[in-house]
């Protein structure tokens, strides 16, 4: 792109180009001004530079464009401001569907639900990648085009700006009268002194200055606010930086999830995660195998404020972290306070109850015992969990459990009236048959496929659902064995869960259930080496934005005419280069200050003092 085509194509964000206010002012008054089609649509006025100037006439035969010519034309189109604006608005529109339809990335369960609710529409939407909008081909192509356009604009502008930074301010226009803030003053003094004073004054005000001379007149051309364009370029480059860092940098990290029941230990190795999403370039061997034991998951509920009774006010997970070198320390994880250890951040994203369930065969041999995390369903922590007993009994057994931390009903249907453990009740619906896990197909631990199973307790079965409180045991139907809901605070001898606070619960067992069921913490373990870079770029974006929007870029001219007899006529004018509401005031201030040194009074004083400003060669410094 030549700089001239750059000017017409993309005056850009308050661009550095000649058509700032002076020309724009006229155009402004008729914003219905048609799109100046000639400059950008006509491919022949393209990158030939010199040839483009007058090529807008209709009768001009268009030169044949070769492949390269079309490429150039396409490139010019892509990097034009109008295309960038179009892509920007398109991006905003394209982002909307992702908020209307659940996304796999943020709400996978919502997607499953959507497929269930709209079996006809969902597959069609899926073809359109509506469930993965932000990684879809169409969304990606919009932002990639946008960023190519942006880069295609930023690079020539950087070069242009770099040149401008070293160039002298341009020659003073012949007639200043039409420019912004134009004002005239009369004064007395010498031409050289007046020009030098203007030069020194503008220079100390942060302008770059150049002095031009003609017979009978001297003028100072000054420009300031180069930082505006610098900020603009920093802003756009930093956006590219964010995109690149997120795009490629994300590949070096990982995100994993792990549910830990109180007492359980997690070792930071690949197999220990419940789910693990490595980036493309992540090497699992770099995992630092620290171990982390959840010693306590404490939840506090509101009890004072009746209107918010039972609202959670604090979640604190206490963990024991043991580094590879054996150093061990106790740490806490809270919702807004992740734990940083071993190069990973550990976040507390959820919690709930994990009833410890033991199943024995008719002989009393334990065939299953485990603390099963139950997924909370509502604010009162009514929770659902699934127990699968594949071996040890006559039939494979599956149970769907509902857990009520404080069961509040006299008779079914039950509900939970408070999220803490006041009157915990567990009900179990029991199924026998084929669990569907022998075939090797992966199944979720949180769902039970009952298609090839028969219900033997609860629901439509003859027997009622099993109902247990901590410490209680019940017979399974059909003489299959027994189920025990273990009391974590007062464990039975053969299934002692690793609980630390045995002592304080022992005395009140039976009435105080507060420690009777273990809690689990749902932890996210992330490693993202590029996060810091994203932050750095984000700060650059902000800094660039502020500079590019608030620093005014302006030119100011001071022209001094020698009108004979020691009298001077001084002209002042400015040109905004980009949005600059303070320009008129700034020019007026320059004029006031400068002309004050050349009033008849000031001249008299100056003669006494010999010099107003050091008489240096005026155009030596520029």
């Amino acid at each position: 792109m030549t700089s001239s085509s750059d000017d017409t194509e993309r005056p850009a964000n308050d661009g550095p180009h000649e058509d700032g206010r002076g020309g724009a002012e006229e155009r402004l008054r008729r914003p219905d001004d048609h799109i100046d089609a000639a400059a950008s649509v006509d491919p022949s006025s393209g990158d030939t530079g010199s040839g483009g100037g007058s090529g807008s006439g209709g009768e001009i035969t268009q030169p044949k464009l070769g492949f390269v010519g079309w490429l150039r034309w396409f490139w010019r189109q892509l990097t034009s401001m109008r295309t960038a604006l179009f892509l920007l608005l398109l991006l905003a529109v394209a982002a909307v569907p992702g908020s209307l339809v659940p996304q796999r990335s943020s709400d996978p369960n919502g997607v499953t639900q959507y497929f269930r609710d709209n079996p006809d529409l969902a597959p069609f939407l899926d073809k359109l990648q509506a469930f993965d909008v932000y990684t879809s081909a169409w969304f990606s192509s919009i932002y990639i085009l946008l960023f190519i356009s942006l880069i295609g604009c930023v690079i020539p502008r950087t070069k242009h700006h770099f040149d401008a930074l070293r160039a002298k301010p341009p020659r003073t226009p012949v007639r200043l009268g039409r420019l912004a803030g134009y004002t005239e003053r009369d004064g007395v003094g010498s031409l050289d002194d007046a020009a030098e004073a203007a030069r020194a004054q503008l220079r100390s005000a942060g302008y770059r200055v150049a002095v031009f001379e003609k017979p009978g007149e001297k003028s100072v051309s000054a420009e300031r606010g180069y930082l505006r364009e610098t900020g603009n370029l920093v802003f756009h480059s930093a956006l590219v930086g964010i995109l690149v860092t997120v795009g490629f940098g994300g590949g070096f990290g990982f995100a994993g999830q792990r549910v830990l029941v109180e007492g359980q230990t997690f070792v930071n190795t690949l197999g220990a995660f419940d789910s693990f999403n490595p980036g493309r370039f992540f090497d699992p061997d770099t995992l630092d195998p620290y171990s982390l034991t959840l010693t306590d998951m404490a939840v506090t509920y509101e009890q004072q404020n009746q209107k918010a009774f039972g609202q959670p006010i604090d979640y604190t997970a206490t963990v024991q972290v043991t580094e590879q070198d054996g150093a061990s320390s106790e740490q806490t994880i809270k919702v807004n306070e992740p734990l940083n250890t071993g190069g990973t951040n550990i976040y507390l994203l959820g919690n709930g109850y994990a009833p410890q369930i033991t199943v024995r065969d008719p002989d009393g041999t334990v065939v299953f015992t485990d603390a099963i995390p139950f997924l909370p369903q509502d604010a009162q922590l009514t929770s659902i969990g699934v127990v699968k007993i594949p071996d040890g009994l006559a039939e494979q057994l599956g149970m769907i459990g509902l857990f009520y931390p404080t069961q509040g009903a006299q008779q079914p249907p039950y509900f939970s009236s408070y999220p803490d453990l006041e009157y915990p009740v567990l009900t179990l619906q029991v199924f026998e048959g084929d669990l569907g896990i022998d075939a090797g197909t992966p199944t979720s631990v949180f769902t039970l496929d009952t298609d090839s199973m028969t219900e033997i307790a609860g629901g439509k079965a003859d027997a009622k659902a099993l109902e247990l409180m901590p410490g209680q045991t019940q017979e399974l139907p059909n003489g299959l064995g027994t189920v025990t809901f273990e009391d974590a605070a007062n464990p039975s001898g053969d299934a002692a869960p690793p609980v630390t606070e045995e002592s304080d619960a022992a005395g009140t067992a039976g009435t105080d259930y507060s420690k009777s069921v273990l809690r689990f913490a749902s932890l996210d373990i992330h490693h993202d080496p590029t996060q810091g870079w994203v932050l750095v770029f984000a700060l650059l974006v902000l800094a660039g934005l502020v500079t590019s929007l608030f620093i005014p870029r302006r030119r100011v001219w001071v022209k001094v005419h020698d009108v004979g007899g020691g009298a001077l006529r001084m002209e002042y004018a400015g040109l905004a280069r980009g949005d600059d509401p303070g320009l008129d005031a700034a020019v007026a201030a320059v004029a006031d200050r400068h002309s004050a040194g050349f009033t008849p009074d000031a001249a008299a004083v100056a003669e006494g003092d010999e010099a107003v400003a050091p008489p240096e060669s005026p155009d030596a410094r520029a």
Binding site: R10, A12, N13, D14, G15, A24, R27, L28, P31, D32, H34, I35, D36, M81, R82, A84, L85, L88, L89, L91, A92, A95, V96, G98, S99, S105, S106, D107, Y134, A180, G181, Y182, T183, V246, A255, N305, K307, A308, Q311, I313, D314, K334, V335, N336, E337, P338, N345, Y347, L349, H526, V534, A538, L545, L549, D579, P581, D584, A585, A588, A591
Partner: protein
């Protein structure tokens, strides 16, 4: 207490609203008078821009030799307008008291659920309006600002009211103070920019049809600044809003990283924050694009603020997402 103060504030806003409306009505009639008085002079035939520069709100620069175009028509001092502003200040103080009392009752910043956010957000909208008036005369937007605030406060106290409740763990962060407050401030700026853009469009329409003709349509527009001036002002206000919105987005990302383990996850609220950011980025670029300056960019500012309102109401209430803090 907080509720009583809020209702009083709403009542005073309502009176202020009426005062502003009376002022607008008076502007219409004053135009007739001025037009009659000026009709004998030659200037009258030259249209709207020439008469009586230097009256209400004129900002002609002292030494400028450029012709003063677009200066508003002369319009004398308006008692109704001054009453309106005074009442707005009184209402704002009551509103502030309501907000502070709510904060004291809750023992935290008063913007942790939708009701509180509406209360603080409208407080900031009025604050932005009053502060802007210290620099530029935008009192003609009083009807719009008090009207908008009344509607929002009405909606909030009828539909969004919730009793004081403690902060859920996810909101217990210093970022609640920063992120939400800055978001509310930029909403206040966008609201004012929206009002200016609407008036700008009306003004522009009048300017383009009424040059040389008799004043048509909303005659009161003749007392307001020209569309160019309105655009420049709207732009200045919107860019401050945009910068704060950028900060909101970043602060939100930092907070999301702490609370949810990722700085960006295309949560519905994040999506809409992004959409709004892109629309206003488009607005800023549009002003530098030929053929887009003026009315088209004003439409973008209007769409942008509509998206802000949509984000606050519809997205909060009906879209599923992690920002589920409406308290409803």
């Amino acid at each position: 207490m907080s509720v009583i103060a809020l209702y009083s504030a709403m009542a005073v806003y309502a009176i202020a609203f009426i005062a502003y409306a009376i002022d607008l009505a008076k502007r219409s009639s004053s135009i007739d008078e001025v037009a009659e008085g000026a009709s004998s002079t030659a200037a009258a035939s030259a249209g709207l821009n020439v008469t009586a520069a230097g009256g209400y709100g004129s900002t002609a620069t002292i030494t400028s030799s450029a012709p003063v175009t677009g200066a508003p028509r002369g319009y004398g001092r308006s008692a109704a307008l001054r009453v309106g502003v005074a009442l707005t200040v009184v209402a704002w103080l009551l509103h502030l008291a309501a907000d502070i009392l709510r904060g004291l009752a809750a023992g935290r910043v008063p913007w942790a659920n939708m009701y509180e956010f509406a209360m603080t957000g409208t407080l900031i909208i009025v604050a932005v309006f009053l502060v802007t008036n210290l620099f530029v005369d935008v009192r003609f937007l009083g009807t719009f600002v008090t009207g908008l605030v009344l509607i929002l406060l009405g909606l909030a106290s009828v539909n969004f009211y919730v009793a004081v409740s403690p902060l859920p763990p996810a909101l217990q962060s210093i970022w609640l103070v920063i992120h939400v407050f800055v978001a509310a401030t930029s909403v206040g700026l966008f609201a004012l920019g929206f009002g200016l853009s609407v008036v700008q469009l009306l003004q522009f329409r009048r300017e383009s049809i009424a040059v040389g003709a008799k004043a048509t349509g909303l005659r009161l527009l003749a007392t307001l600044p020209s569309s160019d001036k309105l655009e420049a002002l709207a732009y200045r206000i919107n860019i401050i809003g945009f910068i704060l919105w950028t900060f909101t987005l970043m602060a939100g990302a930092i907070w999301a990283e702490k609370a949810w383990g990722r700085y960006w996850g295309w949560d519905t609220k994040e999506v809409w924050t992004f959409i709004i950011w892109v629309i206003y980025a488009g607005y800023i670029h549009a002003r530098a694009t030929r053929g887009w300056r003026g009315s088209r960019s004003a439409w973008l500012a209007i769409i942008g603020f509509s998206a802000v309102l949509f984000n606050f109401t519809v997205v909060n209430l009906f879209f599923k997402g992690l920002h589920a803090y409406s308290g409803l």
